[in-house]
């Protein structure tokens, strides 16, 4: 059954103009269809979609707290089983990068280890945007945030590297892990569809631009996200059953663009251009990641 003409995520919500999260949510729900229960970790998505007494969710939806969406979903999975209603119902979690890579990592890991039949979708806007752009473990190296401020004593912004959450989830040997980019819609749709057909825990890592935190023109969201993948900074891949050796790149840029093309339109990286050495360092790291794939060809 195809639900592409139906909207399960109603318009009129309060996301900022240019926010990528609703694009991700809308497409996940179109593919999942009506027989779906949603669990939402605390974050922008939960706040902007449910200002009481309104709700954008045309599906059963629950938000409990920040760090426990995976545990809540585990309880739903068990309850449906106990009631004999488990067959045919999707359980999908949406969490931001803070709710996934930081405070929610323990419950996510527990859910994955216990093997619940749940799809986890992380919308990664690379900082605590709901509380106002604070760095998370998912904030990339070199990004300005309100807690990785740039000044004479810190010319880089965030000095640490992004936590490789999708790889961490793949290391749990769960059946399916993939990275997606809403700017590559057919690839994203294919992966969501595939994930929902697999029984067990599935993890999808979606890059999700935040115009407010990334500091870019709201009309450029999709364009900038596309650059994340075309520069090779956010590669699109799948890993099944934790088999890293069989990691499958689902998009191979013909010619990777230089990383500064991704950085240039974003205010959070502006300071890096005063230190081109740092940009070169980042380019080198990206090149190194790709070397193993590009050499094969």
């Amino acid at each position: 059954m195809n639900y592409e003409n139906q909207e399960f995520f109603a318009p009129g919500h309060r996301a900022c103009a240019g926010c990528a999260a609703p694009i991700i949510v809308k497409w996940v729900l179109k593919i999942a269809g009506p027989n779906t229960i949603i669990v939402n970790a605390t974050g922008c998505l939960e706040v902007f979609s449910t200002p009481y007494p309104h709700s954008s969710w045309r599906l059963p939806w629950i938000h409990v707290a920040f760090e426990n969406a995976s545990a809540v979903a585990s309880g739903i999975d068990a309850a449906l089983k106990a009631q004999g209603k488990r067959e045919g119902t999707n359980i999908i979690i949406f969490g931001g990068d803070g709710g996934t890579s930081d405070i929610g990592l323990q419950s996510l890991s527990g859910m994955a280890e216990r093997g619940h039949d749940i799809l986890y979708v992380m919308y990664d806007n690379e900082a605590y945007m709901n509380t106002g752009i604070q760095r998370s473990s998912s904030t990339p190296f070199g990004a300005w945030t309100t807690t990785s401020q740039v000044g004479p004593y810190n010319i880089i912004g965030k000095n640490e590297f992004k936590k490789p959450i999708a790889e961490i989830m793949a290391a749990h040997k769960i059946p399916y892990v993939a990275t997606v980019n809403p700017a590559f819609l057919p690839d994203m749709k294919m992966k969501i569809e595939k994930a929902l057909k697999i029984k067990g825990p599935k993890f999808i890592h979606a890059i999700s631009s935040c115009t407010t935190g990334w500091r870019h023109d709201p009309s450029k969201t999709v364009e900038i996200m596309r650059l994340a993948t075309e520069t090779g900074i956010f590669p699109l891949w799948e890993i099944e059953n934790g088999d890293f050796l069989k990691m499958k790149l689902t998009y191979m840029p013909k010619q990777r663009k230089p990383v500064e093309e991704y950085f240039k339109p974003q205010g959070r990286f502006r300071h890096l251009f005063q230190n081109p050495e740092k940009i070169k360092e980042i380019q080198k790291m990206v090149d190194e990641w790709w070397a193993k794939f590009e050499n094969k060809n």
């Binding site: 059963p60 545990a71 585990s74």
Partner: protein
């Protein structure tokens, strides 16, 4: 009905079985670990049908319980002390979402210093979380009050979660003969396990846990307050119906040799049995002393407590908890219950048995003697029993 030799934790696991609990998320912690162990055993033996979720923390245990209860399943968990403290955030969400989860607690002291023995501080510290609180004196009560907790929690006039406390080791790990009622009778008492309130149901989508602004938030909180007030009547009905079906009688507040007593002791939990023994001994000596036992702490049964204590000259409240900076919790709330009532007994507070320090008949006799002193002269309002005060004063300076 079957008589079985059960530890308190096992009695609550059997409560889950006969109540046909559908989902049990739990995490091990001393002294409540026997609960998930017994549940796992009963499920593996085929004696019990339920989904057990061996979660990775207590925070997740209660979070999973919320997910299950929001899906309409009868849900139970168990924890103690640090585990309950870790759940603190989620406790408020369970009650705010009006989910009738039942949780058995092995009442245990909190760190630091680490201590695994009996104390009621863990549940008392959660008294503002919007959960009903029952306390058991023995293992039969632990089983019965767990069933009663479901009956009250699931009543549509209440829909609030409930915790049932039993003292660490004294009950959790001590065997007693327990009458385990038939599942058919329990079903008659509780109804089927599928819940009737709105649930996460794809054919009737609803939003749970929305973002609520100041113009609506207070009404949600007031609803909880009103539901908790309503639970007072519902608890009495649940006790009455329990007596009719199972033959055992419960009250929020019950008296022992209290009718003509000048001095009343108030007790909650397993030490009540020891207190009863002390009262008997004192009565033999002609002392006019009685005992009041509290089985429900939330809602606080202030009307019943005032009624039963108002004719005494002195009420000695025994607290196995302490709010540092003020007093024990039962004392505080009893004193507050007498607000706006002119004729009131002298109310004293005795703190004892913290961190599993043994509570002896002599301790209660000591409490009685100190309370009796207050008839003739002023005494300290809050006194710690069986504690080495000198050792403390040497370090902290005298009080």
């Amino acid at each position: 009905m079957v008589m079985m030799m059960l530890k308190g934790n096992e009695a609550t696991a059997y409560a889950a079985k006969v109540a046909k609990v559908q989902v049990i998320p739990a995490y091990p912690i001393t002294p409540s670990t026997l609960f998930p162990e017994k549940v796992s055993e009963l499920i593996s033996n085929g004696e019990m049908k339920a989904e057990f979720i061996p979660v990775e923390s207590e925070h997740s245990a209660l979070s999973a319980a919320i997910g299950a209860a929001a899906t309409g399943a009868r849900t139970m968990t168990a924890t103690a002390s640090q585990g309950l403290a870790l759940m603190h955030e989620v406790l408020f969400i369970a009650s705010g979402m009006r989910l009738p989860i039942v949780m058995a607690i092995g009442n245990r002291a909190l760190s630091a210093p680490v201590n695994i023995w009996a104390e009621q501080q863990d549940t008392i510290a959660q008294r503002d979380s919007g959960w009903l609180q029952f306390y058991a004196e023995n293992n039969q009560e632990a089983l019965d009050l767990s069933l009663i907790a479901f009956r009250v929690a699931e009543d549509k006039r209440v829909l609030l979660p409930a915790m049932m406390g039993m003292d660490a080791f004294v009950l959790t790990h001590t065997m007693e003969p327990v009458d385990v009622p038939d599942e058919s009778l329990v079903e008659k008492y509780l109804g089927p396990p599928e819940q009737k309130y709105p649930t996460l149901n794809p054919s009737q989508p609803s939003t749970f846990g929305a973002f609520v602004f100041p113009e609506h938030y207070m009404e949600f909180r007031y609803s909880q307050f009103v539901a908790m007030e309503h639970s007072k009547k519902v608890i009495d009905e649940a006790f009455e119906e329990f007596k009719n079906i199972f033959g055992r009688e419960y009250r929020k507040v019950s008296g022992f040799m209290n009718e003509d007593a000048d001095i009343l002791l108030i007790s909650m939990g397993s030490m009540t049995g020891t207190a009863r023994e002390a009262i008997r001994k004192l009565r033999e000596k002609g002392e006019k002393v009685g005992l009041i036992k509290l089985s429900v702490f939330r809602p606080f049964p202030k009307e019943e407590l005032v009624e039963i204590t108002k004719n005494a000259r002195i009420v000695a409240v025994v607290d196995r908890n302490i709010s540092i900076g003020f007093a024990g919790a039962i004392f505080t709330e009893l004193v507050a219950s007498y607000n706006n009532i002119e004729k009131k007994p002298k109310i004293l507070n005795f703190i004892l048995g913290l961190g599993g320090r043994d509570i002896r008949v002599e301790d209660y006799i000591e409490i009685y003697n100190r309370a009796k002193e207050a008839e003739n002269r002023g005494v300290k309002e809050i006194q710690w029993i069986n504690v080495d005060e000198d050792a403390v004063y040497e370090v902290e300076g005298p009080l």
